[in-house]
């Protein structure tokens, strides 16, 4: 089986859990002898290919303008090993060309900035450029299934499905509802909904996410599958070379440290962490709180910590590089994930692998995979504070929770994840998909009826008077 993987983040270039999960998924698929052709907006260098072919959209886009495509293909051919290819797309899209000029290739000579693959102000433009390049790639590459990760790549998945006639699996790591609640960006929601409509299967990382989709999106429950994320096992990572800084050592002779690690955004619930910290501090003034990560709430959180008398107790680390993340785990006596809406949440699994016991919010997917971990409703701050305090009082209980948690995550292997994903793919290869099959056939027919490959104009899917092809 050969899978066209459409990713946005991939280590070493990650801003959250998406890249880490994508890497794990790719590894799991390769372990199932799946050939992986991964397309990223651009390559940062140092991607762990592990047998995948990895292509950069930015490079592919640039290649379109010159006669270098063939050379590049052969160059990438050399890099193929053990089933994974990585392709970087040339993504310097031309924001000022209209769709017609774009499609005719008139704009190819126009200078443009390469795709960043980030989440900057040109994100929607880059999403459309990525889709364009992937669509062209899909028309000439051989593969059996298209597998797209989160909304940034759904347009590309839809386009690739139309160009190739192959089934599309949309993988949901986080929905706009999880990130923003009611305040979601309607453009993002429209891209998500369109992806779900066209997809032959929608894979959620948890039952929690499945419920979110069923509640907040119009989705056919019959095509939804749940495949839990996993955690990578690498014995060397359990003992970071540098360890915790001297003032943040674990142990009876040191003040305990409670860790929050995640983006400082509403979705991750850092404000609830600080509220609990206030209550904990009142009972145990020696407890330290390490707030690791950066985000739009940083300023208000810093001010809140100062205003609530926690200036000496709360330490803000800013954004942490991977080796610094390990040191944060090494410093922690307890990890708290008070997420408001967390489709999965891989950090608690990492924490456990560093022997840190965890408390997770019930509003998270990872809670489903950790039966032994203490759980809280994110809004129940007094409950969180009580649980933290009682765990800090009982080192033997913390040890027991680490052991039981580590047993829980034994079951969560990327190999297993790959196995279950393959099962989903096989459902599609063995027979017509339920739900979206007829629409897929229509789209394929429409594509064949045109001389050029079908590329839906996904650049301005909302606010445009033109209906987006395939939308309800």
């Amino acid at each position: 089986m050969r899978v066209l993987e459409l990713g946005w983040e991939f280590p070493p270039r990650i801003s959250g859990g998406l890249g880490t999960a994508c890497e794990g998924i790719v590894r799991g698929l390769i372990a199932q002898d799946v050939e992986v052709l991964l397309v990223l907006p651009r390559l940062a260098g140092g991607e762990e290919r592990s047998g995948a072919t990895v292509l950069s959209a930015a490079a592919l886009e640039a290649a379109r303008t010159a006669a270098t495509l063939a050379r590049e293909a052969s160059a990438y051919g050399d890099a193929t090993e053990g089933g994974l290819e990585v392709i970087g797309l040339p993504s310097a899209l031309r924001p000022y060309l209209d769709a017609a000029a774009y499609a005719s290739g008139v704009g190819d000579a126009v200078a443009h900035a390469p795709m960043t693959g980030g989440y900057g102000k040109n994100l929607f433009d880059e999403v459309a450029r990525y889709a364009r390049v992937v669509s062209e790639l899909a028309a000439r590459e051989q593969f059996d299934v298209i597998h797209a990760h989160d909304w940034m790549t759904y347009s590309a998945g839809v386009a690739a499905r139309a160009a190739s006639g192959k089934p599309l699996v949309c993988h949901v790591h986080a929905s706009e509802w999880d990130r923003c609640g009611e305040a979601g960006d309607p453009r993002v929601i429209a891209l998500e909904q369109h992806g779900f409509d066209v997809a032959d299967r929608v894979v959620c990382v948890s039952h929690f996410t499945r419920r979110v989709l069923e509640r907040h999106y119009d989705i056919d429950p019959a095509k939804v599958r749940v495949v839990h994320n996993a955690v990578r096992r690498d014995p060397t990572r359990h003992h970071p070379a540098e360890g915790a800084p001297p003032l943040f050592q674990r142990g009876a002779n040191h003040p305990p440290t409670v860790l929050f690690l995640g983006r400082l955004t509403r979705q991750k619930g850092p404000a609830f962490f600080l509220e609990a910290a206030s209550l904990i501090h009142a009972a145990r003034p020696d407890v330290r709180f390490l707030v690791a990560g950066d985000g739009d709430l940083k300023a208000s959180l810093v001010e809140a910590s100062a205003a609530s008398g926690l200036a000496r107790q709360v330490f803000f680390t800013g954004f942490l590089e991977p080796h610094e993340v390990e040191r944060a785990y090494a410093a922690a006596d307890l990890y708290v994930m008070p997420s408001v809406s967390e489709p999965f949440g891989i950090a608690p699994l990492e924490a456990l692998s560093f022997d840190v016991p965890v408390i997770v919010s019930r509003q998270s997917g990872v809670a489903e995979t950790l039966p032994s971990a203490p759980k809280v409703d994110y809004w129940d701050v007094p409950d969180l504070a009580l649980k933290v305090l009682s765990l800090l009082e009982r080192p033997e209980l913390r040890r027991a929770l680490v052991e039981s948690g580590q047993r829980d995550i034994e079951a969560l292997r990327w190999e297993t994840n790959g196995e279950r994903l393959c099962a989903v793919f096989r459902e599609l290869l063995q027979g017509p998909a339920r739900g979206a099959a007829s629409r897929g056939a229509e789209l394929r027919a429409a594509a064949q009826a045109r001389s050029a490959p079908l590329v839906p104009d996904t650049r301005f899917p909302v606010g445009s008077n033109r209906p987006v092809e395939g939308a309800r």
């Binding site: 390490l290 810093v302 000496r312």
Partner: protein, 426 residues
């Protein structure tokens, strides 16, 4: 006869380097020497050296009839000794003319007068010793950091033997009384309070290069005409400003040096004026009007209060955390061991008011003023790294005193704060 009293403030802080949680307990080197050296060299080149030359020439041309005063923070003097010895030499040349008075302040340009009278006395004594060593002078006039003044500050200053205190001529303090009168702060016996005439001062320090100002461009003859509006019987006019005004805040291209070159003779040409240092101005008049301070005043921003330093929870928390360590730091310093002395010296440098100034959030609508003065990405980053340093210092102090880290009682919130709002720094 009206005295024109120039007082120039010279100050450079020891800015902190990017000190993260991973440095705590590991690295005790808090200060960004390369940055501090770069800045002091730049300001020396643009401001201190050329402006000292302008003033020295003015004194020589007028046979000492042009007179002025400086307060130079101890942290600035230390940086001159380290990185800009030519600046120190040029100030010595000014001192040698006898036409320049050096005021005293806290050696670390701190807020100690508000927080810790013992520390205040120690920093003033240190600054006196430093001025004696570098310039051979014994100051009799005092200015507290950023002209922060109230009756408590005034009493402390008088108790330390000073005759003159510099203050801000704030509207809400004077309620229509002239800033050109000599006052005595209520609660003091014989302390002369010289207030800043902020309008005249800010014409030079603040508005000089403002192209949308209707008086732009300002030339010295116009300014002297404006000075003539001061009533005949006014004993003095206080022109108090940051020395970095000349060449740094107002670039040479604005003509600020030419303005100051032309001013002395134009002032002296009007027979009703003479230049005087603060001590000379205070000697020449006898009656002092008692002045009550309803609150603490400073020369900063429209509010003329403490909100630039202690206006938000981060600033108050940082200040509290710092002064919670004051007594232990002094005790360490008193031990006279190398480690103890280094601890107290580090604490002292952290007491420089700029560190809490960088944490101000009141400039949300006037961010350029703040950014100009801050080496950090945001007020919150300034707070985070300051608190990281505080934690390391606290840990060193625990180790030094051999005491265990007992849980600390929560500190009461800082009580001294004023209203906040968009404003500008003089």
């Amino acid at each position: 006869m009206t005295d024109i009293v120039f007082y120039f403030q010279v100050h450079q802080p020891f800015r902190l380097r990017r000190y993260t949680w991973l440095d705590i307990g590991v690295d005790h080197d808090y200060f960004d020497d390369p940055l501090n050296q770069m800045i002091v060299e730049r300001v020396a080149e643009r401001c201190y050296l050329p402006m000292n030359r302008v003033l020295l020439e003015a004194i020589e041309r007028t046979q000492g009839r042009f007179r002025c005063s400086f307060s130079i923070s101890g942290t600035a003097l230390e940086q001159f000794e380290l990185w800009a010895p030519a600046v120190l030499e040029s100030f010595r040349a000014l001192a040698a003319t006898g036409a320049v008075e050096f005021l005293c302040e806290t050696r670390q340009h701190s807020l100690a007068a508000l927080e810790d009278p013992e520390e205040f006395r120690a920093q003033v004594a240190d600054q006196r010793a430093l001025l004696k060593r570098l310039f051979g002078v014994a100051p009799t006039s005092f200015r507290d950091t950023e002209l922060i003044t109230d009756e408590s500050v005034a009493r402390q200053v008088e108790a330390l033997g000073f005759n003159v205190l510099m203050g801000e001529g704030a509207d809400t303090l004077l309620n229509g009384r002239p800033a050109t009168t000599m006052y005595r702060p209520r609660g003091t016996q014989d302390l002369t309070l010289l207030l800043r005439s902020y309008s005249y001062s800010d014409d030079i320090a603040f508005r000089f290069s403002n192209r949308s100002w209707d008086a732009y461009p300002l030339f010295a003859p116009t300014f002297v005409d404006w000075l003539m509006r001061v009533p005949e019987d006014a004993p003095f006019v206080g022109l108090f400003m940051d020395y970095e005004t000349f060449g740094e805040h107002q670039w040479a291209e604005t003509g600020i040096f030419d303005f100051m070159r032309a001013l002395p003779e134009l002032v002296l040409a009007r027979k009703r004026f003479r230049f005087a240092t603060p001590a000379e101005a205070a000697e020449s008049r006898s009656p002092r009007v008692e002045l009550a301070y309803p609150r603490t005043y400073s020369w900063a921003d429209a509010e003329r209060d403490l909100s630039a330093w202690l206006g938000n929870p981060m600033q108050k928390a940082a200040q509290r955390a710092l002064y919670d360590l004051a007594a232990a730091s002094r005790a360490a310093g008193a031990s006279a061991t190398p480690e103890g002395v280094a601890l107290y010296e580090d604490w002292r440098k952290l007491s420089t008011s700029d560190h809490v100034y960088y944490m101000a959030t009141k400039w949300a609508s006037d961010g350029d003023v703040h950014e100009y003065f801050s080496p950090y990405d945001s007020p919150h980053d300034a707070f985070i790294l300051f608190m990281n340093v505080i934690e390391d210092l606290a840990n060193r102090l625990r180790g030094f005193s051999g005491s265990t880290s007992a849980p600390r009682a929560p500190s009461p919130p800082h009580g001294k704060s004023g209203p906040t709002g968009p404003s500008a720094r003089p």
